[in-house]
Amino acid sequence: MRFSPHGKRDRQLLLELTSMVDIVFLLIIFFMVTSEFARDARAEVDLPLLKGEQVEQSEEAGLFINIDATGNIILSTSESPVTIAQLSDRIQRLVQQESSPKVTLRADRNASIIRFNAVIRALNESGVSSARIATEVPK
């Protein structure tokens, strides 16, 4: 593509980008408004400060069960906390879909073990025999 032919002196070609930028802007706004953002499954909790098992492998995210310092069980930050019974229902549905579902427990380090134990029992009763317990790697 040639924008300026040779031999024609004193001619300036101004590439007008304003319309293109307007369209780009409209597209950005369109996608921002219509996109459904992924629900954040990780609630803000102070995880136990432990190095973990340091296994370098990518894992399927699975179900995140957050337990905050006051013992609330949070499955998603956009939803209200759930009870043990609701959690059991959710796990049982998950077990029906997948034979060995991946479950990650994200429990606050200051939370009482009683609530954590209740979640472990709910998992076990639903047939889940192992769980990943999230830790925060100390700096």
Binding site: P48, N117, I120
Partner: protein
């Protein structure tokens, strides 16, 4: 595509107005900077989970399980291994390092202790080479 002609070709200049494009780029940058959440690095502990009913199914004659109880003793969170009480994870690690790692270990979390203190027992078991670590909620 040729956007610019050289100065030495008859003094022609192509001026591209980049101001709007830069504006948009800056806006996008600010948008992502504001909406991004910086997460701390996390790792995982992967114990097997069992309830006390299941873990009690084997008879004493089958095996002699190595059990660490995480309990409150006189109001102090304590790791109890046999007759030995320890109040720190490093003390527990020292004790566990003297045990045969191939037999596995049960960690039982009891009422009154925090999640962080209990998870430190699982971490200590992993650190001392136990492949089979089972977490059991203490009734």
């Amino acid at each position: 595509m040729r956007f610019t002609t050289r100065q030495n070709r008859g003094g022609k200049r192509l001026i591209m107005n980049m101001t709007s494009l830069i504006d948009v780029t800056f806006l996008l940058l600010v948008y992502f900077m504001v909406s991004t959440v910086m997460a701390s690095p996390e790792d995982r502990l992967r114990p097997t989970i069992r309830t006390q009913d299941e873990s009690a199914s084997g008879s004493d004659a089958d095996f002699q399980p190595q059990i660490v109880d995480v309990i409150l003793v006189a109001g102090v969170p304590t790791y109890r291994l046999g007759q030995n009480d320890m109040t720190t994870a490093s003390q527990l690690r020292d004790r566990l390092s003297n045990l045969p790692a191939d037999l596995g270990v049960f960690i039982r979390g009891g009422e009154g202790v925090s999640v962080g203190f209990t998870m430190a027992a699982i971490q200590a078991a992993r650190d001392t080479g136990f492949e089979q670590v089972t977490y059991v909620p203490l009734e």
